[in-house]
């Protein structure tokens, strides 16, 4: 596995978390695995980065949390996108699009 959470750009982790929650509520491990899955295993988010980010985003009001039961009837804390979170996802997506386009342009330039 190649994991490089430390090289994640500032704000990228937020974007990935928001994106992974679009399909529905999820607990921490779920978010982590979902990110791994949708990035083709490029990013493995360790709990040491994941939880601070989740808590920060909850305080920002982008996601909300509740306790629920996991698929195996274990208690787990679930996160879901709020309205503000969806809006934030749009903002971040646009921003990211701009950045990646700009970087691509820069790299293609001779």
């Amino acid at each position: 596995m190649n994991s490089e959470p430390t090289t994640l750009l500032q704000g990228t982790l937020d974007l990935l978390i928001l994106k992974s929650l679009v399909t529905g509520e999820m607990h921490g491990l779920g978010v982590s695995r979902r990110i791994q899955q949708i990035t083709g295993g490029t990013f493995v988010v360790k709990p040491g980065s994941l939880f601070p980010a989740l808590h920060r985003m909850e305080e920002e009001g982008w996601i909300s949390s509740f306790w629920g039961d996991s698929e195996n009837n274990r208690r787990a804390k679930y996160y879901r996108l709020t309205k503000a979170g969806r809006k934030q996802l749009e903002v971040e997506t646009t921003r990211w699009g701009r950045i990646s386009w700009a970087i691509a342009q820069a790299l293609e330039a001779s």
């Binding site: 921490g28 939880f51 601070p52 920002e60 274990r74």
Partner: protein, 888 residues
């Protein structure tokens, strides 16, 4: 962005800490279980699955700590918990805490007290309207060495009437004292005669009643008086109906027209003229009413002048204008003694000029003491950090980041510093009252020295700065602990080279600071001793002095002389009195009056020789103070008003004016009411102004022949303790005149003491600070050496076991201490050379780089360091090798 969500989170983080924490704990644990489950589903055995899950999680506590650091309001939360933790830590170590807090409290307290002084005296604006535009004006005569000569009345009038740069100009005579008689006992009260426009110029109006009108400086209309608030309270029971009523002033009636506000004592607190004369705080004011003859006077200099610059006029413009007026005067009155130019001094500089540098030096010194104290506390903290390495290591292992640890340790230091600051405020309040007790009488603005908001703000800032100064370095050191090593070694462990180096740096800088401070103290002390060794020319022991001022209204000039003759005759009859006399201005009393002088029948004297200070004396004065006769004779009762006028000069006049001839029999003509007389004697010069002033020309006239003023100081030489005689003498005076007050009853030793009070004050304070620096420095060296010995217990044990004798061990420890000390001494001496030049203006007859002082300070500190090293060194020699080798 939903702001209320954030606010809610903030409040929840702050107040429902427990719930938030439980929630976090459950979440992380749930996550761990989910991971384990996942691993087991992937086919791992349960134990393996759990281990792998833990590895992936990376430590429950670390994750939790990382989440905590991200929380809104985390800083506030961590500050609170750091404080709580810090205070708990400090309470667990009461002796460490007590030593540190006391050191800091003394340092911060002393600094706050000095700050209050600097702020009250130097920084606080003067309590007058737009005080920045107020200037005092003086005649300067560079050739004669006068910077601030009060102008003569005629010159002041021309200044005032001809200038276009000052909005207003007022004159005052600050040397007036009044006999206040009435229902209660008679007393002498300091006051001032002032131009009517003075109060408007300062922008101060009476509390009740009115100020002087512009006609009240005309003779005949001038019997009006303004009272100070304090005099009104004390003498007139704060009765407002006193306004409009007459009081008895100098034997005649004056009408009270008003009371000035509390604290107004102008020209008191207008500073020191020529470093000699300080106006006393005025208790009452009368109009300055002069006769036409007095207004035309050009050589008699006694009026002080203050002016308010017009808006938009620069000081240099004013200077040019005033100088051109003065030039005109010099041309117009070539025979008069007029300054070569006008000296404009901002009022603030006039008031605080002489003490500004003293206060700044003392403030610097006390800051040094605090820094030395900081070094001690930093050393204590370093020692403690070593014993807390295990704690730090555990906290690191549990996920505390380095910045988090530094923050925690600095919070602890700040808690120490703030505790020191709180205690320091109490010490400062006490210190300020103590300072006021030892302040010289003529120190300006003493009423403005007190603790106030700005002093408290200073204390707060000083405490925080102190906490950071002594806390940051040890905190960074402590937080850089290697976790595994510390946990393995436990609490004791040897410490790294780096930490020892920090310790050495602290001790070296401490010693350097102490050396600089002590050099300053030493120079000041030397100056003081040398000043006390100056021979005043007379014998001050066993001399009782007191002042009597006969009012003109009741004593015409002829009767003044007979009053004093009669009084002295009675005094000499007392068995304890050996001799008795009287003089107009006591030597070293700080007063001086100069008049011009010519030798009859000779060419005009060069200006620098033509202005002796003049005294009137009663027969018996020279004998009483034991001023030696060089030639001729003293005055006697035969030199009465109807016998030929005679004079006595001092050896300076003899040397300047009659260099190759005997002055006896020559006749001098003085500007002192035109007094002319024959020289009958030459006496030694005295230090008439202050001890550090070069001898000046002095001429003495018999009071019997020149009774032109009413105030005389008695000088009574007694066989026993002088003050015991003050009561019989007083009774004798009241028997002659029951309304006659007596003032300034002092011994001549006290008069001399008062004349050196300013230097004594700064010597005493610097001495105290120097002593504190020496003590703290010694403690610092002792602390570091004891610590080093305990760290090297094993090494010393080994050395002893291998046959090192005790002298070798002793030498080893002391050599280490000396190396540190000598480095500090060297830096301190270099710093001293750079800094003592700021002291130069405060020193007397000693160079700011006096090698003897530098050498003795270096030696003193080295000796103290040796003593401080000796105690731990002794301990090193007593180490039992068996125990030491087992010592981990």
């Amino acid at each position: 962005m939903p702001l209320f969500v954030k606010a809610r989170s903030f409040l929840r983080n702050l107040f429902s800490t427990r719930r938030v924490e439980v929630d976090l704990d459950q979440e992380v644990h749930a996550h761990l279980e989910l991971l384990t489950e996942e691993n087991m589903r992937a086919g791992m055995p349960p134990k393996e699955a759990q281990r792998a899950a833990r590895i992936e999680l990376g430590g429950i506590e670390q994750v939790k700590e990382q989440v905590r650091e991200e929380r809104i309001g985390n800083w506030l939360h961590s500050v609170i918990s750091d404080c709580r933790y810090g205070i708990r830590q400090l309470r667990k170590n009461p002796s460490f805490t007590a030593v540190a807090v006391m050191t800091l409290a003394l340092g911060i307290g002393a600094n706050t007290a000095m700050f209050s002084m600097v702020y009250g005296v130097v920084l606080r604006p003067l309590p007058f309207k737009d005080a920045g535009r107020l200037y005092t004006l003086w005649e300067r005569n560079a050739r004669m060495g006068y910077e601030q000569n009060p102008p003569a009345a005629g010159n002041f009038r021309d200044w005032r009437d001809h200038n276009r740069v000052f909005e207003q100009m007022a004159a005052f005579n600050s040397t007036q004292t009044f006999n206040l008689a009435g229902n209660s006992s008679p007393e002498r009260v300091d006051g001032a005669a002032v131009s009517p426009e003075l109060f408007a110029l300062l922008g101060v109006s009476p509390l009740i009643g009115r100020a002087f009108s512009s006609q009240e400086d005309q003779l005949g209309q001038n019997r009006v008086v303004l009272l100070s608030y304090e005099l009104w309270q004390r003498r007139f029971n704060a009765n407002p109906s006193i306004v409009g009523k007459p009081i008895t002033l100098d034997g005649s009636n004056s009408t009270v027209i008003g009371v000035m506000p509390l604290g107004f004592h102008f020209p008191g607190d207008t500073g020191t003229v020529l470093n000699i004369f300080t106006a006393p705080a005025a208790q009452l004011w009368v109009p300055l009413a002069l006769t036409p003859k007095a207004w035309s006077e050009r050589s008699s200099h006694y009026l002080e002048v203050i002016g308010r610059l017009k808006p938009g006029v620069t000081p240099s413009q004013a200077q040019t204008e005033m100088n051109s007026i003065e030039d005109q005067l010099v041309k117009e009155y070539p025979r008069d003694y007029i300054g070569s130019d006008v000296n404009l001094v901002p009022l603030h500089a006039q008031v605080v000029g002489s003490v500004r540098s003293v206060l700044l030096v003392l403030f610097g010194a006390v800051a040094f003491v605090l820094l030395i104290g900081c070094a001690n506390v930093a050393n204590l903290l370093l020692a403690r950090a070593t014993s807390r390495r295990r704690e730090v290591a555990i906290r690191t292992a549990l996920g505390a980041s380095r910045s988090r640890l530094v923050r925690q340790l600095v919070t602890e230091s700040l808690a120490l510093a703030i505790a020191g600051g709180v205690l320091g405020v109490l010490i400062a309040a006490w210190g300020i009252s103590a300072l006021k007790l030892i302040l010289p009488d003529n120190f300006p603005r003493t009423a403005d020295i007190h603790m106030d908001g700005s002093a408290l703000l200073f204390t707060t800032l000083a405490s925080v700065a102190t906490g950071l100064i002594f806390g940051l370095a040890p905190a960074f050191r402590a937080s850089s602990t290697d976790v595994t090593k510390s946990l393995k070694e436990g609490d004791r462990g040897t410490e790294g080279f780096g930490r020892n180096r920090l310790r050495s740096v602290l001790v070296i800088s401490q010693v350097a600071l102490a050396v600089i401070l002590l050099i300053g103290t030493g120079l000041m002390l030397h100056s003081f001793v040398r000043l006390l060794q100056v021979d005043p020319g007379f014998k001050p022991d066993h001399l009782l002095t007191m002042e009597i001022s006969l009012p003109d209204a009741r004593y015409p000039n002829s009767q003044k002389a007979s009053f004093f003759s009669l009084l002295l005759e009675h005094l000499r009859a007392l068995p304890e009195v050996q001799s008795a006399g009287a003089i107009g201005h006591l030597p070293l009393g700080g007063d001086i009056e100069s008049y011009d002088m010519e030798v009859e029948g000779r060419a005009k004297l060069p200006n620098e020789y033509a202005n002796p200070s003049c005294h009137v004396v009663m027969p018996g004065y020279f004998e009483a103070i034991k001023l030696p006769l060089v030639e001729g004779r003293y005055f006697g009762m035969r030199d009465s008003s109807d016998s030929p006028h005679v004079l006595i000069i001092n050896d300076v006049v003899a040397h300047n004016v009659f260099p190759r001839e005997s002055p006896i029999g020559k006749r001098l003509q003085l500007g002192f009411n035109g007094f002319t007389g024959e020289i009958v004697g030459v006496v030694r010069h005295t230090s008439h102004l202050t001890l550090d002033y070069a001898p000046v020309e002095e001429v003495y006239m018999p009071y019997l022949q020149a009774p032109f003023w009413g105030t005389m100081a008695l000088t009574i030489r007694t066989a026993s303790a002088p003050l015991a005689l003050s009561r019989p003498v007083r009774e004798m005076i009241l028997a002659l005149d029951k309304d006659q007050p007596v003032s300034k009853i002092r011994t001549m030793d006290d008069v001399m003491g008062a004349s050196v009070a300013a230097l004594r004050f700064r010597t005493l304070l610097l001495g105290l600070f120097g002593l504190a620096a020496l003590l703290l420095g010694g403690i610092g060296i002792y602390g570091v050496m004891s610590y080093s010995v305990s760290q090297r217990t094993r090494e010393f044990g080994m050395r002893i076991a291998l046959g090192a004798d005790l002298a070798q061990i002793l030498r080893l420890v002391i050599a280490h201490g000396l190396k540190l000390t000598l480095s500090g001494v060297l830096i301190g001496v270099a710093g001293g050379l750079a800094l003592t030049r700021f002291l130069r203006s405060l020193l007397f007859s000693i160079s700011a780089a006096d090698p003897l002082t530098f050498a003795s300070v270096a030696l003193l500190l080295t000796l103290v360091a040796m003593v401080a090293c000796y105690i731990p060194a002794r301990r090193a020699t007593k180490i039992d090798p068996m125990i030491a080798l087992r010592y981990e």
